[in-house]
């Protein structure tokens, strides 16, 4: 094969790959859009698309309360938290080159949840301050896990095990604070134990959306370096990527995303953990893993919430549904990784 032919073949492959990325991402966006539409139009009863549009546009005779006050905040909160969890999760998984190193397994979601509960119940904060407390505590826990696990050999396994220990401890903090809460509200408790978008309000959506823009943007800015980091520290160094700096920025971005989402909807079980590996299957070896994982996170939360609300004999919070789906997947991943030692 001549040099020109090689060049042509490579260019063709790149083009096919690009088309595949666009196709896959487009399909995911369409799926998210369908789920949002489903959440808005179908609840106990279904609305015709025309009524839905009329309600969204604020016409007098449309069912505005159901759509604008009940379903829209719920769909919006599911969408933004799903995107945040998906992006934050895959950032950690790629950075640590291990699908098990997701924020909900190594204790970051647990720390954000415990901090948020503490700030709300004990210190009676609300709004942005709660999210800020959750972010700070998430960062503190990351640094702690990092410091505890950095020693000779097999740091990955130790990091995950230490993360599991930390999250057991933080979960008991959450359980304790909830027992101390003056008005024991079970719906509220469910939010902090498994994650839920019940009773969502637009006021909860804006901080998460802000976090998505700020930290998602930061993540997008370092995504090329993060891709290169997958080759290993030495290779990345040789290609001119500063490994430690990239890791710091990715960590801040991912913790910010996860902590803001957690302080709004609770630690929705396993969404951060599931999104990355599923995105990797959908996208194959091509680029676009980060946005795909974010979209899959949104799909998981929207679909899980819809299933939990309307397709089971009882209404269940979204975290129970995703937990029931995610735990078998974790087991499957353990079995599979044992066989071929693969990473995400």
């Amino acid at each position: 094969m001549s040099a020109a032919e090689v060049h042509m073949a490579l260019a063709g492959r790149r083009q096919r790959e690009g088309r595949r990325v666009v196709l896959a991402l487009g399909g995911l966006v369409a799926l998210v859009f369908c789920l949002v539409f489903l959440t808005l139009s179908c609840g106990r009863g279904c609305l015709a698309p025309a009524d839905l549009m009329a309600a969204l546009l604020g016409h007098e005779d449309a069912p505005g309360f159901i759509v604008n006050d009940l379903r829209l905040p719920r769909a919006a909160l599911s969408l933004v938290t799903g995107l945040c969890f998906g992006l934050g999760g895959v950032a950690f998984q790629v950075m640590l080159r291990n699908p098990l190193a997701s924020p909900d397994i190594i204790g970051i979601s647990a720390s954000a949840g415990a901090a948020a509960v503490f700030a709300i119940v004990i210190l009676s904060f609300d709004g942005w301050v709660v999210s800020a407390v959750a972010v700070v505590s998430g960062l503190v826990v990351v640094v702690m896990i990092w410091a505890l696990s950095s020693r000779r050999g097999a740091a990955g396994a130790r990091l995950i095990l230490i993360g599991i220990g930390v999250s057991a401890m933080l979960d008991s903090v959450t359980a304790y604070v909830l027992l101390e809460a003056p008005a024991w509200d079970r719906a509220e408790a469910m939010r902090w134990l498994t994650g839920s978008v019940n009773g969502a309000q637009m006021g909860q959506v804006w901080p998460v959306l802000g976090a998505l823009v700020v930290f998602g943007g930061l993540l997008a800015a370092v995504s090329r370096d993060l891709d290169i980091l997958r080759l290993g520290d030495d290779a990345a160094q040789a290609l001119g990527v500063r490994a430690d700096g990239t890791r710091l920025r990715v960590t801040v971005a991912a913790v910010g995303l996860v902590a803001f989402a957690t302080s709004a909807a609770g630690p929705i079980s396993f969404v951060a953990f599931l999104s990355g590996p599923i995105a990797a299957r959908v996208m194959g070896p091509s680029r676009g893993l980060l946005p795909a994982a974010g979209l899959i996170g949104a799909v998981l939360v929207l679909a899980g919430d819809y299933v939990g609300q309307f397709m089971l004999p009882y209404r269940l919070p979204v975290g129970v549904v995703t937990g029931a789906v995610g735990a078998p997947f974790l087991l499957y991943l353990i079995v599979r990784t044992n066989r071929n030692g693969g990473t995400i």
């Binding site: 291990n98 098990l100 397994i105 505890l148 696990s149 020693r151 050999g153 097999a154 990955g156 396994a157 130790r158 995950i160 095990l161 230490i162 599991i164 220990g165 930390v166 057991a168 401890m169 979960d171 008991s172 359980a175 304790y176 027992l179 101390e180 079970r186 469910m190 134990l193 498994t194 079980s269 396993f270 089971l312 004999p313 009882y314 209404r315 269940l316 919070p317 975290g319 129970v320 937990g323 029931a324 995610g326 735990a327 078998p328 974790l330 087991l331 353990i334 079995v335 990784t337 044992n338 066989r339 030692g341």
Partner: protein, 333 residues
């Protein structure tokens, strides 16, 4: 092995003294301060004053804490011996969660009540979860490494708690009971519920003690144990049955309590050597002390409220877990 008979005896008698001290503290200290005279009255069954009545309630509670602590400590020691895994613990391996799931399903779907049925359900659930987690954790090369077992246990716990929530949430009538039971508490102890558990606990204790020699041989490695003439498979089954019965009983009585089975055997190994014939009884005494003290601490730190014992043990145990992970070289996935 490395320690002589006299030092083992010393360790065991020290353990007994500590258990007695724990019992004393647990009877005397509570959310309410009670003068000595009333404590004495309460212990004699005269519940004329509020203080004496409070002390009378502390008696079954103390018995339960000591019993459950001993069961969890022994079960942890045996599990660590069978799996040769320093992180084995009924809570971390998901065995408690399995027992809890079975008990909750029994309450919610089959209207089961009565302490004896809870015990059977707890033991059955613990058994299923243990077999499942071990099977998942030992797939593939390298056998059951600490990381694989821990992850399989974590996944099983999360799945079990998702199902527990799904079962309990629609049932307002039982939700309060299950919630209180699930955090892990000895607060509501009564002798009527403790007595039926005693035969089960005794069976578990005997099975565990009977497997001590095989666990000693297993510590040298599986091939060597077989070479020494031990029936490894049978020994493992006996030992596992003992551990499962004990942990199922403890969970049925006071809900899933984590980390006692992890912390206690390590501490006992530091003080009493590694011979399982000594380690198992020591772990029983140590578990009784740890859970008893955790219960006392829970009554003091959050006065006038009480902190459930499961929360206290998680607070003490999780840092210990991390310390253990740091101390050992972990094989990766």
């Amino acid at each position: 092995m490395t320690f002589g008979r006299s030092s083992a005896l010393f360790g065991l008698s020290g353990g007994v003294v500590l258990v007695l001290a724990t019992v004393f503290l647990s009877l005397v200290i509570g959310a309410r301060s009670v003068p000595w005279a009333e404590i004495w009255q309460g212990l004699n069954g005269q519940i004329d004053s509020i203080g004496a009545a409070a002390v009378a309630v502390r008696v079954p509670r103390t018995v339960l804490a000591v019993l459950a602590g001993a069961a969890l400590g022994i079960s942890g020691a045996v599990m660590q011996g069978i799996t040769r895994n320093p992180l084995a613990d009924p809570g971390i391996l998901g065995v408690n969660a399995g027992a809890a799931l079975f008990v909750v399903v029994g309450i919610a779907w089959f209207n089961i009540s009565g302490a004896a049925t809870f015990l059977w359900l707890g033991i059955a659930g613990a058994g299923c979860a243990a077999v499942f987690v071990y099977a998942i954790g030992s797939v593939g090369q390298g056998g059951a490494t600490p990381l694989k077992l821990t992850l399989a246990g974590t996944a099983t716990s999360i799945a079990a708690s998702a199902f527990i929530i799904a079962v309990v949430l629609p049932r307002n009538d039982i939700a309060g009971n299950v919630q209180a039971w699930q955090v892990g508490g000895v607060g509501g102890a009564r002798f009527q519920t403790i007595l039926p558990a005693l035969p089960f606990a005794l069976v578990g204790l005997l099975l565990s003690l009977a497997s001590a020699r095989i666990l000693n041989a297993l510590a040298l490695g599986e091939e060597l144990a077989a070479g020494l003439g031990q029936n490894v498979a049978l020994g493992r089954i006996v030992a596992a049955a003992g551990a499962i019965v004990l942990c199922g009983v403890a969970t049925a009585l006071c809900g899933p309590i984590g980390f006692v089975g992890l912390v206690v055997p390590h501490l006992c190994r530091l003080t009493g050597g590694i011979d399982h014939r000594v380690l198992i009884p020591m772990a029983g005494l140590g578990g009784a002390v740890l859970l008893g003290l955790a219960d006392v601490a829970g009554r003091i730190v959050a006065r006038p409220n009480e902190l459930d014992v499961g929360i206290v043990t998680a607070f003490v145990g999780a840092p210990f877990f991390i310390w253990t992970v740091r101390r050992h070289r972990m094989r990766g996935l």
